[in-house]
Amino acid sequence: MERSHGFWADAWRRYRRRPLGMLALVFVGFLVLVAALAPAIAGTKPVLCRYKGRIYAPCLGYFDRRLEPAIFAKDKFRGTYPKNLAEKDPQSWAIWPLFFQDPYRSVRADEWPGRPENPAMDQGRPSRMHLFGTDQAGVDVLAKMVHGTTVALLVGFVSMGIAGSIGIVVGALGGYFGGWIDMVTSRVTEIVMCVPTLVLILAVLALIEKPTIWHTMAIIGLTGWTGIARLTRGEFLRLKASEYVTAARAAGAGPWRIMLRHILPNALAPILVPITFGIASAILTESGLSFLGFGPPPPSASWGSILNGARSNLGMWWLVFFPGTAIFLTVLAYNLVGEGLQEATDPRLREARK
């Protein structure tokens, strides 16, 4: 006997049958893994170390400066662990990241016993030591890209999280209540739709004293919700008139319960699709900004800002090829996930492909 399954279980079953969609999903999963493990993949701070009788995880400093144990600052490590650990506590040990390379600076000579200084400028072509090469300043491109994965993912999720929340709330209110509320929300949506995102970001970044990646994400989110709002409004308008919503009202359900429990779950599938595409386009926007030099300021890694480095010297092809490929694959993956989601949840396409 077939086990009972709900709408999402059903959609997942259909999604799984699409090899490209699954491949894309696996790729997104891989990116999440890389982002979460970035300090353990590439870095100059030990993943785990024993120092003066206690165990520390200095690599967490890559997520947030404050997570780096204070004792290393007090003992004047100055970010150089291998030598200092050995000199200041002979009994110490450490587990090092997979690649001893820093995403934010060039590794100096003898920082790792017996290793030469990172090559800089156009000398840094890919080699055994530096799989993806080094940039003008001698920073390892692989390390930069591994740490930049976080930015790429965050840009997508945070900006579309903001856009999705605003879009769903605005669209739901307008679609469900109609009347003057719909009038107001629709007009606001149309006004926001007219705001050119890129120009607004450039203007805001110029005004803010210390722009960060969060500002960029916030602006992408605050301007990118219009399509989602329109779609949500349409879905709510359609489902509001459905018989099971009337039945829920006849059973005594209030407007909020009807919106959240009866309409939203049924409207979610079509809304998720543009959100997925939105993630892809947010990543492209951020990369574009970084390429133009409006990305996060230097001590942070973003794929787009590596591309920016290649502008001055096109001979350094590895500065274009590797991050460019990463951006391309990521955007492609999100688009494939979106497409898969659409086909797995759209009843009309569903019937056609049975």
Binding site: S242, A250, G252
Partner: protein
């Protein structure tokens, strides 16, 4: 006619007085329900009969104020009797109205295929109906849901509880709808064409179930249908609606025995009559042609003046007996022609013998 005037008569559970529900369309005001008065006693079944578009569903939706915009209740009262006296549902505030919906009045819809939310299990939906009106734990609500599914005789209720609507057949879904409507033991259930979308054998089962539940739970039922056979089997009283108005109201047996309004007479005559089938020389069945009422129900924008049925009425056209110019001139009142038998026709009772069905078959 008020309840106080007749002390021996108990106040009806639900009394609708002169209900007018109209739709404001770009083409103007369309009164779908135009001065309907009805009453239902506790534990009784009232059948509301009429053709499509006569306003019977709008009447039902008006009771729970579920008429969607641009429709609205323009005037009238809908009095629901309760422990603290009658409340008027037309003017009741939204939060109190929500307690009535599902709590004191349950509703069953025509389309069991689309009246259940596709993303939740059957058990969840019945339990939700319980939780909306009772303070109890989720587990207790689920327990109650199971009990309700057993009550409506859904096969294998434990398993069905965790199934989704698309896994159930139409008849099973309608049983679930009935379970939801009855979950909080309402005083009244409005069943809006509950069997129209089902096939004939399932129809009979569902009607039998409704009748049985009414006997056991003492729930009054407002049964809306266009099927006179259904009315004959299940109802205590019948109201016939035509073009937004009640044209005849009587106890069921009385109505079928002695219909007094030409429209009702026509409707009863239009039923296929298996007794009239005879066989010709070759043994082939010869069926008399089905009787029809000429014309169509006029759209509400084009209701005729006077009696709204008169353009289609054979009496008014002078084909049968003594009807006359009053038909197109004045709106007839709903008169009590015989005790408990109300008719909205100028000539009710004077149409001459036979009042009945045979006049149409002539």
């Amino acid at each position: 006619m008020t309840a106080t005037a007749a002390p021996d008569r108990v106040a009806p559970l639900l009394e609708i007085r002169d209900l007018v529900t109209a739709f404001d369309t770009p083409a103007g005001r369309v009164p779908a329900v135009d001065g309907v008065s009805l009453s239902i006693a506790r534990g009784r079944t009232l059948g509301l009969v009429g053709e499509s578009g006569c306003g019977k569903s709008v009447t039902a939706m008006s009771i729970l104020r579920l008429v969607a915009a641009p429709g609205r209740i323009e005037s009238g009262a809908i009095l629901l009797d309760g422990p603290a006296g009658a409340v008027d549902l037309v003017s009741l505030a939204e939060p109190e109205l929500r307690r009535v919906r599902g709590g004191r009045i349950g509703m069953i819809f025509q389309e069991p295929m689309t009246s259940l939310n596709p993303v939740f299990t059957v058990g969840d939906q019945v339990a939700e109906a319980v939780l909306l009106h009772r303070r109890c734990s989720r587990a207790a609500a689920r327990e109650r849901a199971l009990e309700m599914l057993q009550l409506v005789r859904l096969a294998d209720p434990e398993r069905r509880l965790d199934e989704y609507p698309h896994q159930l057949s139409g008849g099973m879904r309608q049983r679930v709808m009935i379970a939801m409507a009855l979950a909080c033991e309402p005083d009244l259930v409005i069943a809006d064409e509950p069997t129209t979308a089902l096939d004939v054998t399932i129809q009979a089962q569902i009607l039998e179930l409704l009748a049985d539940l009414r006997r056991r739970l003492g729930t009054a039922i407002l049964l809306i249908t266009h099927d006179l056979g259904v009315v004959a089997e299940t109802c205590d009283e019948v109201a016939v609606m035509y073009a937004g108005r009640i044209v005849e109201r009587a106890p069921a047996a009385e109505l079928f025995r002695r219909p007094l309004h030409p429209y009702t007479i026509g409707l009863l005559a239009a039923r296929p009559n298996p007794d009239a089938v005879h066989h010709d020389a070759d043994g082939r069945a010869v069926r008399p042609p089905l009787v029809t009422i000429p014309g169509m129900v006029p759209p509400p924008q084009h209701f005729p003046a006077g009696c709204r049925f008169h353009p289609r009425c054979r009496y008014a056209r002078g084909e049968a007996t003594a009807a006359g110019p009053a038909c197109s001139a004045a709106v007839p009142d709903l008169r009590e022609v015989e005790p408990g038998h109300f008719v909205r026709c100028h000539y009710a009772g004077d149409l001459g013998p036979p009042h009945a069905v045979e006049a149409f078959r002539a």
